[in-house]
């Protein structure tokens, strides 16, 4: 007490300075992106690794059945929430097409709401914003990048990043790396070049552009290779990892014979100049719309006894890939569900497409269907168990094309036949499924989050949000959410309380333990020593 009194004068003197410093530092410090503190979720994947794994441990397999709703936020939109919110300095930022909200992460009340003017772009979905210092970066259906003031949602500048009249649109959450805002583009209904572009966060000027395919009309060459999901980043190697989409024309491979670089690929780029360092082909000659844009998950660990810097992807085409991310060399390629379109795997680890399974006039039955064995919702890697956990979609579809369908855009037709949802826990060293958990007919759209306490969060086909025991996949808790879950969960800790934030339909939910339970847990918690989470 006396010691505190002695320092009071000093504290008061410093107090004003500290308060000012704190008030001025409301923006996103770049070190936060490299090492996100537990009270933040500053990028689409949380950290740069794409593991969607949290070190938070307040919610455990033992107490998760007491988790309850902390708050809900109604967007009052018909569009589904398909984004991952950002959490920076106690404020959540999230989106649907044409809309951004800033919401208090403690209470769920709205701070501001930005709406973009009506436009003709494809309103297929939206994955969220990126943040740099005091600014948010928001892509629009008509392919503009808007910089918003994070304090009040005021637009600072707006630049065109692709020509929506040609058929481009944008949905992805920009990835901020150093002073680069990295954006990708979408567009499957026209023969267009896919690209990644780095934008100056202050001015909106283009810093570099990397094209995944040559210009339309290049003889015997493909177009496509869209870049519509947020990539990952390794700061030590200074490499950006990105998945690219399918080639175009989509279902008709004739005009683009042989391998179609760099479509359906995982690429490593230098984030400072956009130069390609390596590329791995997930589908060398895709004719089924299987974008390889699923999260390139970065994991450091042993692979069959030797340490590796790895990259793992459960790809839409049905294959689980483990690569050495320093050079793109394959460590493992194995299907993680029904796959009937390949003749095996080539020496580089790429599947070999079976020409007899290309779409045809009288139809070909293909596993998986167009939606793929998984899609944009995130998987999660749990380091303790070595499990790569994915919301899988075993499925079949029928694919057609004929000369009359032409060679532009879709150039064929395909229809889903049957599918279901299965949560799969993949042993990353073998590709074997250590456990599976059925999620219901047609499939679930929920992504996956794991935590250090041994919990996995995801959802089923009926809109139940569920918590599983990561070790064995047993259900430990659930809550019916009343809508389709089409996003991936995030987690953070504020005021000593761990929140899980999920969505269904147009509603965002925050879940937490009741404060009474947290008090008891804290009283009996055994100090871990490091105290870091």
């Amino acid at each position: 007490m006396r010691r505190m009194t002695k320092t009071n004068a000093l504290a008061i003197g410093f107090g004003a300075v500290l308060f000012c410093a704190a008030a001025a530092a409301q923006g996103l410090d770049s070190s936060m992106l490299l090492h996100p503190p537990p009270d933040s979720w500053p990028g689409y994947h949380g950290d740069y690794s794409g593991r969607r794994h949290s070190s938070l441990t307040q919610i455990t397999p033992q107490n998760v059945d007491q988790v309850a709703l902390a708050w809900a936020f109604q967007t009052n939109q018909t569009a589904l929430l398909k984004c991952s919110p950002l959490l920076v300095n106690g404020v959540l930022y999230f989106t649907v097409p044409d809309n951004v909200w800033a919401v208090d992460a403690r209470t769920g009340h709205q701070i501001w709401h930005y709406t973009y003017p009506p436009n003709k772009g494809l309103h297929i979905g939206h994955r969220g914003v990126g943040m740099y210092k005091d600014w948010l970066y928001f892509l629009t259906p008509d392919a503009h990048l808007v910089s918003l003031n994070a304090k009040n949602g005021a637009a600072r500048w707006n630049v065109v990043v692709a020509d929506s009249n040609k058929g481009y649109w944008t949905t992805m959450a920009p990835l901020v790396v150093n002073n680069h805002v990295i954006i990708g583009v979408s567009g499957d209904f026209d023969n267009l070049t896919g690209y990644l572009r780095a934008i100056d966060p202050e001015t909106g000027a283009t810093q570099w552009q990397w094209n995944s395919t040559p210009p339309a009309g290049t003889p015997n060459m493909t177009t496509g290779g869209m870049t519509w999901m947020t990539g990952t980043y390794d700061p030590e190697l200074n490499l950006l990892y990105w998945g690219t989409g399918n080639p175009t024309p989509v279902l008709q491979g004739g005009p683009r014979p042989g391998p179609n670089p760099y479509t359906c690929s995982i690429v490593a780029l230098n984030p400072d100049n956009g130069k390609l360092v390596w590329a791995f082909s997930a589908s060398p000659h895709d004719t089924h719309d299987w974008d390889a844009v699923e999260t390139p998950v970065l994991v450091d660990g042993d692979f069959h006894g030797a340490p590796h810097k790895m990259l793992m992807q459960t790809s839409r085409n049905g294959y689980f890939f483990v690569l050495d991310r320093t050079n793109g060399k394959s460590l493992l390629t194995v299907p993680y569900g029904p796959v009937n379109w390949s003749l095996g795997v080539d020496p580089n680890g790429s599947p070999i497409p079976n020409p007899k399974k290309e779409p045809a006039r009288d139809g070909r039955l293909i596993a998986p269907d167009e939606g793929g064995l998984t899609n944009y919702r995130s998987p999660s890697f749990d380091p303790k168990t070595g499990l790569f956990i994915v919301d899988a979609h075993p499925s079949y579809g029928i694919y057609f094309t004929k000369p009359a369908d032409g060679t532009f855009g879709w150039a064929g037709a395909d229809y889903g036949v049957w599918g279901k949802g299965v949560l799969e826990a993949i042993d990353y060293e073998t590709g074997k499924l250590r456990w599976t958990h059925e999620l219901g007919p047609h499939g679930s759209g929920a992504g996956v989050l794991t935590t250090d306490s041994g919990l996995t969060f995801s959802g089923d086909a009926e809109g139940n949000l569920m918590a599983f025991d990561t070790a064995n996949g047993k259900t430990l808790w659930h809550a019916g959410t009343g809508g389709e879950i089409a996003s991936s969960p995030i987690t953070y800790e504020l005021d000593g309380r761990q929140y899980i934030v999920t969505s269904s339909g147009g509603v965002l939910f925050a879940w937490a333990l009741p404060k009474s339970v947290i008090g008891n847990e804290a009283r009996f918690r055994i100090p871990t020593g490091s105290g870091t989470q």
């Binding site: 018909t78 494809l122 297929i124 059925e438 086909a461 139940n464 659930h478």
Partner: protein, 256 residues
Amino acid sequence: MSFCTAAAALLVSAALLHAQTPATIPLSETQALQRAGRNLFGQDCAFCHGKDAGGGETGPDLTGSALVAADVNGNKIGPVIRQGRPDKGMPAFHLSDPDIAALVAFIHYQQHQSELHPGARRRVDVSDLQSGDAEAGKRYFNGAGGCAACHSASGDLAGVARRYIGLKLEQQLLYPSGAKAKVTVTLPSGQALTGTLNYRDEFAIGMVDENGWYHSWPAGAVKYKIDDPVQAHAELLGKYTDDDIHNLMAYLQTLK
């Protein structure tokens, strides 16, 4: 200058004028409606039905839809938009009458366009699905496919080729829509109830009884047995060759 050439020249100049000064050419009411409908369609419908209404990842091609062809001023399309098709995954859209009129105008316009440019459309015609061998299909039906265990050409499938044609028949063949599963629920008292399966997840089971009443129970509190005839179709998907499917299609098309 012939009349045709003059007309063509006029058309060209009108088109150029239109491209350069769109604001000065008043749109017809129909064009304005179609334009509004295109915007609405892009926002609400294109995700499933494709931006040109030609079909997408999860929604059918509306330009080839029999319902669209039969529609007059929204009398068929309007109710589908308003009520959705929950059994097929289409939600209800709470749109105003003018918005629905705009969507209807756009869908009809796209259907008309698709007829003008058949090569640009992606669609499966009945004639595309004629590559199979009906005799081989019949052998598969009665033999390796195991279809005859549940179906009969003279019984449930008699006249199936009249009820479904083309792609729809093939989709029904692969995985029938609308077939309901039966469920028998045994309560802790030993009482057994049988009805149509209505809802099932890991936590609850729901059914509609023979009188049309809905019942549900916590999944762990009762025993239940589901008889889902469609499950056999899902199991066949991993066994068919493409020829098997084409041959079955040829055989089913003989069952008129």
